[in-house]
Amino acid sequence: MNNTTSDATAPAYNRSRQAREAETLLDRIQDDFPDNPQAMRYFYDLFRNVYCQGEPVKHEGTLVGTTCIHAPEELIYAFGATPVRLCNGSYHYDQIGADFMPAKSCPLVKATLGSLHAKAAVPNTAALELIVNPTTCDQKTKASAMIEAMGYKVHDLELPPAKESEEARLYWQRSVRRLALRLRELTGRKLTRSNLKTAMARTARAQTAFRTLHQLRKSAPALFLGKDAFLVTNAYFFDDLDRWTAAVEQLNTELQLRQMEGFQAAQKRAPRILFTGSPPIFPNLKLPLLIEEAGGVVVADETCSANRMLYDMTAVDEWLLNDMVDGLADRYLKPCTCPIFTRNDDRQRRLLQLAADFNVDGVVYQAFAGCQVYEMEYRSIADVLAAQGIPMLYVETDYSPDDMGQLSTRIEAFLESIKTRKRNKQ
């Protein structure tokens, strides 16, 4: 299975399996919902071009792949390189990657391996000159050597397994400095105060745009749907940073107008859902999409393909290289609510705060079958939410479309129970 010679005889890309996988999804995202924001067209077209037509993704300078949100993108940009996030959501690549990993492993890791192994993978980026692989979960850690065996250059960005202690913080700061050295070697450029400042300003502007969008989603009734929000943040994986930011700023302007006009993207009583757990990555947006097709609305999330990737911002006290680099390191470690760390108090508190801020009626917890850390945190999260009287639906799933029918039944039942609760409260 793992030989890709079949690629030679494969049909034109736009008739291939992964193109159809993407196209079906985009059709649902666009056509199943009325009144999509005009500014979303940029993102719909982007995904159609990249995923359905297989058009190449343009970039500047050296292309550096990253396999987790822990790789500080500002550093990569500062060296004149461009990061592209490799975490993959395609069932097609999941199947190819299955050859590398044990049967019960995470589809995200398998799909990432699969896409790296496949020729002419989508998104169609230029050749990756380096892959930065943060040593997060076991599966990603072990994937490192496999990726190297495929012929890529890999930099293991060593991440501590705990984040509370000062030792962990300092260890991570050193790790990030080592990445800077590796990037200097790779690009032949120097890290200077001004190029890092410029890079940090670009990312901060993107984060500001994201935060504005995030805050707009507090509005009740809902102004904006989760399926579009995930598409927006998924585009961040590979899109040009400044173009992405401009598109989001435009979207925010449109949403602010809609807010003044009293626009409703969902019914007034539509259950407001907080999405947590394994990250929805295009084209695997099946769960958020099912929720919204069933009449719910995803108003916020706590996942590494959206909120966790873009929300937290870097603070700097003295704009000298050392403080900026350490500040970046802190931002990529300290607020992170990834379940790989020893404790998950921060994740619990973040979920409760999001639930309160966004007036949430229920939580949907997605755990990819094989993503052990999320599976292991299920109980503690369920207990904390139950103590606050917030209902939660735990869904174990993967990238295959087989469980779609079963899932949609469960989601409908969950949303129905929330509606009943709300009615009884009144």
């Binding site: 940090m200 050392n322 350490d326």
Partner: protein, 328 residues
């Protein structure tokens, strides 16, 4: 009202502090020339040895004098006078809490100026390790205890009288602050007796350490300051307070990394709303660098006066990205 609030929360704290600190510096170091006299109970290093320029006197000077009275006097009626002095000191302190350190203290301001000189030279700061921090943090209590016990010992004739005001002898303020009014007379070793020789030599050493330390470590001296220790013991009823809403905190650590005093609790503590620790100088940089709406706030008599906001944070960071004052 909301607009005023937004403007305050979006303030450029660095600039605001610079000017306010300069104002208080002039008031306390040169106020004497303008006939300012705030009395001798100030809870901050308005050095009394700065004879001509002082706009008030640091309470530690009269306190040590008073405690060195003979025990007969001290534990008699004169004791009431000491208590009265302490009361005035406490009343001054209650207004600003440790804000006296972050905004008023001339020695603190001098250290901030030295820090700003360092950053302009492009030299990085140093930090303590966590273990060092925890041990060093205790020194100020030791100094406070000595500052009280030595004068008491003198009063009881257990110690030589020429130890006088022991903390002032070793305080860098005594040598440095009078220099701002052209008085370099404190910068000498007093050879009149063995004790004075040792104490003034120690004072010279501490002053040297102060200047060198402050260059590499933000607010170097404040870790050891006995005034800070005394402040903390009285801080509970103070009007200006630093509060944290732990539920809103993401523990991103932004506040901790900008903290001059390296106070970890500001980031890590999420249960106790009264977040001010003993080393805190209430500079409010943590509030300015917190991106979470209302997670940190300064209140005065229960009324919020400065609060962390997303907009304020973004504004201040954007300014940092653009600021070209630090040349390449």
């Amino acid at each position: 009202m909301k607009r005023i609030r937004d403007a305050v929360n979006g303030v450029d704290l660095r600039r605001f502090r610079f000017w306010l600190q300069l104002f208080f510096f002039v008031l306390l170091v040169y106020g004497g020339y303008m006939a300012v006299n705030l009395g001798q109970y100030l809870p901050t290093f308005a050095c009394g040895f700065n004879d001509e320029g002082r706009g008030g006197i640091c309470y530690l000077l009269p306190l040590q004098h008073q405690l060195a009275m003979s025990w007969g006097t001290l534990f008699g009626w004169a004791g009431l006078m000491v208590l009265q002095g302490f009361l005035f000191f406490a009343l001054w302190f209650f207004v600003l809490n440790k804000g006296w350190c972050g905004y008023v203290c001339p020695l603190g301001t001098i250290q901030d100026w030295i820090t700003s000189l360092r950053t302009r030279l492009g030299i990085r700061y140093s930090r303590y390790t966590e273990g060092q921090f925890r041990r060093l943090s205790l020194i100020k209590y030791l100094l406070l205890a000595l500052m009280i016990l030595i004068p008491l010992g003198i009063g009881g004739a257990l110690l030589p009288h020429d130890m006088g005001t022991p903390f002032c002898d070793i305080c860098p303020g005594r040598m440095i602050i009078p220099m701002f009014t052209g008085d370099f007379s404190q910068l000498t070793i007093d050879f009149s007796s063995k004790t004075t020789m040792v104490m003034t030599a120690l004072g010279m050493l501490v002053t040297g350490l102060f200047l060198a330390g402050a260059f590499f470590k933000k607010r170097f001296f404040c870790f050891f300051c006995p005034m800070s220790a005394l402040h903390y013991l009285l801080s509970k009823p103070a009007l200006l307070k630093l509060k944290k809403d732990g539920a809103k905190c993401t523990r991103c650590g932004d506040c901790y990394r900008v903290c001059d005093m390296e106070i970890r609790e500001i980031a890590d503590e999420v249960k106790e709303p009264r977040i001010m620790q003993d080393d805190c100088i209430l500079c409010l940089k943590c509030v300015a660098h917190c991106p979470e709406q209302g997670a940190l706030k300064a209140t005065f008599a229960g009324i919020p006066i400065f609060e962390s906001t997303e907009q304020g944070f973004i504004k201040r960071m954007t300014k940092g990205h653009k600021d070209e004052q630090h040349h390449e």
